[in-house]
Protein backbone atom coordinates (compact mmCIF):
# COMPACT_ATOMS: atom_id res chain seq x y z
CA UNK A 1 0.00 0.00 0.00
CA UNK A 2 2.77 2.31 1.06
CA UNK A 3 4.83 1.42 -1.96
CA UNK A 4 1.91 2.04 -4.29
CA UNK A 5 1.35 5.45 -2.76
CA UNK A 6 5.01 6.38 -3.12
CA UNK A 7 5.16 5.27 -6.69
CA UNK A 8 2.12 7.30 -7.66
CA UNK A 9 3.60 10.40 -6.17
CA UNK A 10 7.15 9.97 -7.36
CA UNK A 11 8.09 12.19 -10.27
CA UNK A 12 8.53 10.51 -13.65
CA UNK A 13 12.00 9.61 -14.81
CA UNK A 14 12.93 10.26 -18.45
CA UNK A 15 12.44 6.61 -19.44
CA UNK A 16 8.83 6.72 -18.21
CA UNK A 17 8.22 10.07 -19.86
CA UNK A 18 9.36 8.78 -23.25
CA UNK A 19 7.19 5.67 -22.85
CA UNK A 20 4.11 7.88 -22.42
CA UNK A 21 4.75 10.18 -25.36
CA UNK A 22 3.04 8.22 -28.12
CA UNK A 23 -0.21 7.94 -26.17
CA UNK A 24 0.20 11.60 -25.23
CA UNK A 25 0.47 12.64 -28.88
CA UNK A 26 -2.67 10.56 -29.58
CA UNK A 27 -4.50 12.40 -26.78
CA UNK A 28 -5.09 9.05 -25.16
CA UNK A 29 -3.29 9.45 -21.86
CA UNK A 30 -5.43 9.34 -18.73
CA UNK A 31 -5.50 12.76 -17.02
CA UNK A 32 -3.25 11.71 -14.14
CA UNK A 33 -0.51 10.46 -16.48
CA UNK A 34 -0.84 13.48 -18.71
CA UNK A 35 -0.35 15.75 -15.72
CA UNK A 36 2.73 13.85 -14.59
CA UNK A 37 4.19 13.91 -18.08
CA UNK A 38 3.57 17.63 -18.50
CA UNK A 39 5.15 18.30 -15.13
CA UNK A 40 8.19 16.31 -16.19
CA UNK A 41 8.39 18.09 -19.55
CA UNK A 42 8.29 21.48 -17.88
CA UNK A 43 11.39 20.54 -15.88
CA UNK A 44 13.30 18.43 -18.38
CA UNK A 45 14.84 20.08 -21.45
CA UNK A 46 16.01 16.70 -22.81
CA UNK A 47 12.55 15.19 -22.90
CA UNK A 48 11.05 18.43 -24.24
CA UNK A 49 13.60 18.42 -27.03
CA UNK A 50 12.86 14.77 -27.73
CA UNK A 51 9.13 15.40 -27.95
CA UNK A 52 9.70 18.38 -30.24
CA UNK A 53 11.85 16.22 -32.53
CA UNK A 54 9.21 13.49 -32.59
CA UNK A 55 6.69 16.12 -33.69
CA UNK A 56 8.99 17.29 -36.49
CA UNK A 57 9.44 13.66 -37.57
CA UNK A 58 5.68 13.09 -37.62
CA UNK A 59 5.19 16.29 -39.58
CA UNK A 60 7.77 15.14 -42.12
CA UNK A 61 5.93 11.82 -42.48
CA UNK A 62 2.76 13.80 -43.16
CA UNK A 63 4.53 15.43 -46.10
CA UNK A 64 5.70 12.22 -47.77
CA UNK A 65 4.43 12.15 -51.36
CA UNK A 66 3.55 9.30 -53.63
CA UNK A 67 4.82 8.87 -57.16
CA UNK A 68 2.47 9.85 -59.93
CA UNK A 69 0.92 6.94 -61.72
CA UNK A 70 2.09 6.43 -65.29
CA UNK A 71 -0.49 5.96 -68.03
CA UNK A 72 0.96 2.50 -68.64
CA UNK A 73 0.30 1.54 -65.05
CA UNK A 74 -3.31 2.72 -65.36
CA UNK A 75 -3.73 0.85 -68.65
CA UNK A 76 -2.38 -2.35 -67.12
CA UNK A 77 -5.02 -2.19 -64.39
CA UNK A 78 -7.77 -1.32 -66.86
CA UNK A 79 -6.77 -4.48 -68.73
CA UNK A 80 -7.27 -6.42 -65.52
CA UNK A 81 -10.71 -4.85 -65.20
CA UNK A 82 -11.70 -5.65 -68.78
CA UNK A 83 -10.54 -9.21 -68.62
CA UNK A 84 -12.58 -9.67 -65.46
CA UNK A 85 -15.65 -8.16 -67.15
CA UNK A 86 -15.43 -10.67 -69.98
CA UNK A 87 -14.77 -13.65 -67.72
Amino acid sequence: MMRFWRRRRRALVCRDAVALMTAYLDHELPDADRGRLETHLADCPHCSEYLAQLRVTIDALGHVDVDDLTDDAVDALVDVYRSWRTE
Binding site: R15, V18, E49, Y50, A60, L61, L69, V78, V80, Y81
Partner: protein
Amino acid sequence: MTSGLASKTVDDDVGLVERLRAGDESAFVVLVRRYQPRLLRLAEATVGSRAVAEEVCQDTWLAVVRGVERFEGRSSFRTWLFRILVNRARSTAGREQRAGRPDGDAVERFDATGAWVDPPVAWSDRVDDGLVATELATRVRELLPTLPEQQRQVLVLRDIEGLSGADVAELLHISDGNQRVLLHRGRAKLRACLTAEMGSHG
Protein backbone atom coordinates in the same frame (compact mmCIF):
# COMPACT_ATOMS: atom_id res chain seq x y z
CA MET B 1 -4.23 18.25 -41.51
CA THR B 2 -6.02 16.83 -44.53
CA SER B 3 -9.31 16.04 -42.83
CA GLY B 4 -11.28 18.56 -44.87
CA LEU B 5 -9.96 17.15 -48.08
CA ALA B 6 -10.39 13.60 -46.81
CA SER B 7 -14.10 13.97 -46.05
CA LYS B 8 -14.76 15.44 -49.49
CA THR B 9 -12.92 12.49 -51.01
CA VAL B 10 -14.97 10.06 -48.93
CA ASP B 11 -18.26 11.49 -50.26
CA ASP B 12 -16.91 11.30 -53.74
CA ASP B 13 -15.78 7.70 -53.22
CA VAL B 14 -19.33 6.64 -52.42
CA GLY B 15 -20.52 7.91 -55.78
CA LEU B 16 -17.65 6.24 -57.59
CA VAL B 17 -18.32 2.94 -55.88
CA GLU B 18 -21.97 3.16 -56.97
CA ARG B 19 -20.85 3.69 -60.54
CA LEU B 20 -18.34 0.87 -60.28
CA ARG B 21 -21.14 -1.44 -59.16
CA ALA B 22 -23.08 -0.45 -62.22
CA GLY B 23 -20.12 -1.53 -64.37
CA ASP B 24 -18.80 1.95 -65.19
CA GLU B 25 -15.19 1.58 -66.31
CA SER B 26 -14.45 5.29 -66.00
CA ALA B 27 -15.24 5.10 -62.28
CA PHE B 28 -12.68 2.31 -62.00
CA VAL B 29 -10.09 4.51 -63.70
CA VAL B 30 -10.74 7.40 -61.32
CA LEU B 31 -10.40 5.10 -58.30
CA VAL B 32 -7.20 3.61 -59.70
CA ARG B 33 -5.69 7.05 -60.27
CA ARG B 34 -6.68 8.12 -56.79
CA TYR B 35 -5.63 5.07 -54.82
CA GLN B 36 -3.12 2.99 -56.75
CA PRO B 37 -0.10 5.14 -55.76
CA ARG B 38 -1.09 4.87 -52.12
CA LEU B 39 -1.89 1.17 -52.38
CA LEU B 40 1.51 0.61 -53.92
CA ARG B 41 3.19 2.46 -51.08
CA LEU B 42 1.38 0.40 -48.47
CA ALA B 43 2.06 -2.80 -50.42
CA GLU B 44 5.75 -2.00 -50.64
CA ALA B 45 5.86 -1.28 -46.94
CA THR B 46 4.23 -4.65 -46.36
CA VAL B 47 6.08 -6.95 -48.72
CA GLY B 48 9.30 -4.99 -49.14
CA SER B 49 9.64 -5.55 -52.89
CA ARG B 50 8.33 -3.38 -55.69
CA ALA B 51 7.62 -6.26 -58.05
CA VAL B 52 5.67 -8.26 -55.46
CA ALA B 53 3.91 -5.08 -54.37
CA GLU B 54 2.65 -4.48 -57.91
CA GLU B 55 1.28 -8.02 -58.09
CA VAL B 56 -0.44 -7.61 -54.75
CA CYS B 57 -2.02 -4.36 -55.94
CA GLN B 58 -3.29 -6.01 -59.10
CA ASP B 59 -4.84 -8.81 -57.01
CA THR B 60 -6.37 -6.18 -54.78
CA TRP B 61 -8.09 -4.34 -57.64
CA LEU B 62 -9.41 -7.62 -58.96
CA ALA B 63 -10.81 -8.39 -55.51
CA VAL B 64 -12.34 -4.91 -55.45
CA VAL B 65 -14.25 -5.31 -58.71
CA ARG B 66 -15.30 -8.83 -57.75
CA GLY B 67 -16.36 -7.83 -54.27
CA VAL B 68 -17.78 -4.36 -54.77
CA GLU B 69 -21.29 -5.80 -54.44
CA ARG B 70 -20.44 -6.78 -50.91
CA PHE B 71 -18.97 -3.41 -49.90
CA GLU B 72 -21.53 -2.06 -47.48
CA GLY B 73 -20.07 1.36 -46.88
CA ARG B 74 -19.76 0.75 -43.16
CA SER B 75 -16.07 1.58 -43.39
CA SER B 76 -14.66 4.11 -45.83
CA PHE B 77 -13.72 2.81 -49.26
CA ARG B 78 -10.09 3.53 -48.43
CA THR B 79 -10.15 1.39 -45.30
CA TRP B 80 -11.91 -1.40 -47.17
CA LEU B 81 -9.31 -1.21 -49.93
CA PHE B 82 -6.44 -1.24 -47.46
CA ARG B 83 -7.92 -4.21 -45.64
CA ILE B 84 -8.10 -6.21 -48.85
CA LEU B 85 -4.54 -5.25 -49.67
CA VAL B 86 -3.15 -6.16 -46.26
CA ASN B 87 -4.87 -9.54 -46.38
CA ARG B 88 -3.61 -10.24 -49.90
CA ALA B 89 -0.11 -9.13 -49.02
CA ARG B 90 -0.10 -11.39 -46.02
CA SER B 91 -1.06 -14.47 -47.99
CA THR B 92 1.35 -13.60 -50.82
CA ALA B 93 4.36 -12.78 -48.73
CA GLY B 94 3.74 -15.87 -46.66
CA ARG B 95 4.91 -16.81 -43.29
CA GLU B 96 8.52 -15.75 -43.34
CA GLN B 97 7.70 -12.09 -42.95
CA ARG B 98 6.00 -12.72 -39.65
CA ALA B 99 8.38 -15.37 -38.43
CA GLY B 100 11.02 -12.75 -37.60
CA ARG B 101 11.39 -11.12 -34.24
CA PRO B 102 8.53 -8.78 -33.45
CA ASP B 103 10.99 -5.90 -33.62
CA GLY B 104 14.39 -4.72 -32.61
CA ASP B 105 15.32 -2.99 -29.41
CA ALA B 106 14.11 0.40 -28.43
CA VAL B 107 16.23 3.22 -29.82
CA GLU B 108 16.45 5.41 -26.75
CA ARG B 109 18.86 4.42 -24.02
CA PHE B 110 18.51 5.15 -20.33
CA ASP B 111 20.71 4.45 -17.33
CA ALA B 112 19.71 2.56 -14.19
CA THR B 113 17.99 5.63 -12.77
CA GLY B 114 15.94 6.07 -15.94
CA ALA B 115 17.86 9.15 -17.13
CA TRP B 116 19.06 9.62 -20.73
CA VAL B 117 22.40 8.01 -21.58
CA ASP B 118 22.73 10.24 -24.67
CA PRO B 119 20.34 13.14 -24.24
CA PRO B 120 18.84 14.37 -27.50
CA VAL B 121 20.89 17.12 -29.10
CA ALA B 122 18.97 20.14 -30.32
CA TRP B 123 18.35 20.15 -34.06
CA SER B 124 19.38 22.99 -36.26
CA ASP B 125 17.12 26.04 -36.19
CA ARG B 126 16.41 25.45 -39.83
CA VAL B 127 14.07 22.66 -38.79
CA ASP B 128 11.64 25.22 -37.43
CA ASP B 129 11.33 26.91 -40.74
CA GLY B 130 8.51 25.40 -42.73
CA LEU B 131 10.54 24.81 -45.87
CA VAL B 132 12.38 22.02 -44.18
CA ALA B 133 9.31 19.79 -43.81
CA THR B 134 9.36 18.78 -47.47
CA GLU B 135 13.13 18.33 -47.39
CA LEU B 136 12.81 16.07 -44.36
CA ALA B 137 9.91 14.25 -45.98
CA THR B 138 12.17 13.26 -48.87
CA ARG B 139 14.71 11.91 -46.43
CA VAL B 140 12.06 10.11 -44.40
CA ARG B 141 10.79 8.44 -47.54
CA GLU B 142 14.28 7.13 -48.25
CA LEU B 143 14.65 5.88 -44.70
CA LEU B 144 11.32 4.05 -44.47
CA PRO B 145 12.53 0.89 -46.26
CA THR B 146 15.26 0.47 -43.65
CA LEU B 147 12.70 -0.09 -40.89
CA PRO B 148 11.25 -3.47 -39.91
CA GLU B 149 8.13 -4.40 -41.84
CA GLN B 150 5.55 -3.92 -39.11
CA GLN B 151 6.93 -0.53 -38.17
CA ARG B 152 6.80 0.55 -41.80
CA GLN B 153 3.20 -0.55 -42.12
CA VAL B 154 2.11 1.25 -39.00
CA LEU B 155 3.97 4.44 -39.95
CA VAL B 156 2.46 4.48 -43.42
CA LEU B 157 -1.04 3.92 -42.11
CA ARG B 158 -0.86 6.21 -39.10
CA ASP B 159 1.43 9.08 -39.99
CA ILE B 160 1.27 9.13 -43.78
CA GLU B 161 -2.33 8.04 -44.42
CA GLY B 162 -3.62 9.46 -41.16
CA LEU B 163 -5.72 6.48 -40.03
CA SER B 164 -6.65 6.19 -36.36
CA GLY B 165 -4.80 3.86 -34.02
CA ALA B 166 -7.92 1.73 -33.61
CA ASP B 167 -8.37 1.37 -37.38
CA VAL B 168 -4.74 0.42 -37.86
CA ALA B 169 -4.82 -2.17 -35.09
CA GLU B 170 -7.89 -3.77 -36.64
CA LEU B 171 -6.46 -3.65 -40.15
CA LEU B 172 -3.21 -5.32 -39.15
CA HIS B 173 -4.79 -7.76 -36.69
CA ILE B 174 -2.71 -6.50 -33.78
CA SER B 175 -3.63 -5.13 -30.37
CA ASP B 176 -3.90 -1.42 -29.82
CA GLY B 177 -0.96 -1.59 -27.43
CA ASN B 178 1.17 -3.35 -30.01
CA GLN B 179 0.17 -0.79 -32.62
CA ARG B 180 1.36 1.97 -30.32
CA VAL B 181 4.69 0.26 -29.59
CA LEU B 182 5.35 -0.21 -33.31
CA LEU B 183 4.42 3.40 -34.00
CA HIS B 184 6.70 4.63 -31.26
CA ARG B 185 9.66 2.54 -32.38
CA GLY B 186 9.26 3.52 -36.00
CA ARG B 187 9.09 7.21 -35.21
CA ALA B 188 11.97 6.89 -32.75
CA LYS B 189 14.18 5.23 -35.35
CA LEU B 190 13.42 7.85 -37.97
CA ARG B 191 14.12 10.56 -35.42
CA ALA B 192 17.46 8.95 -34.61
CA CYS B 193 18.39 8.73 -38.31
CA LEU B 194 17.45 12.35 -38.87
CA THR B 195 19.45 13.37 -35.83
CA ALA B 196 22.51 11.67 -37.23
CA GLU B 197 22.19 13.89 -40.31
CA MET B 198 21.25 17.12 -38.61
CA GLY B 199 24.83 17.91 -37.67
CA SER B 200 25.91 18.26 -41.27
CA HIS B 201 23.23 20.88 -41.87
CA GLY B 202 25.12 23.18 -39.48
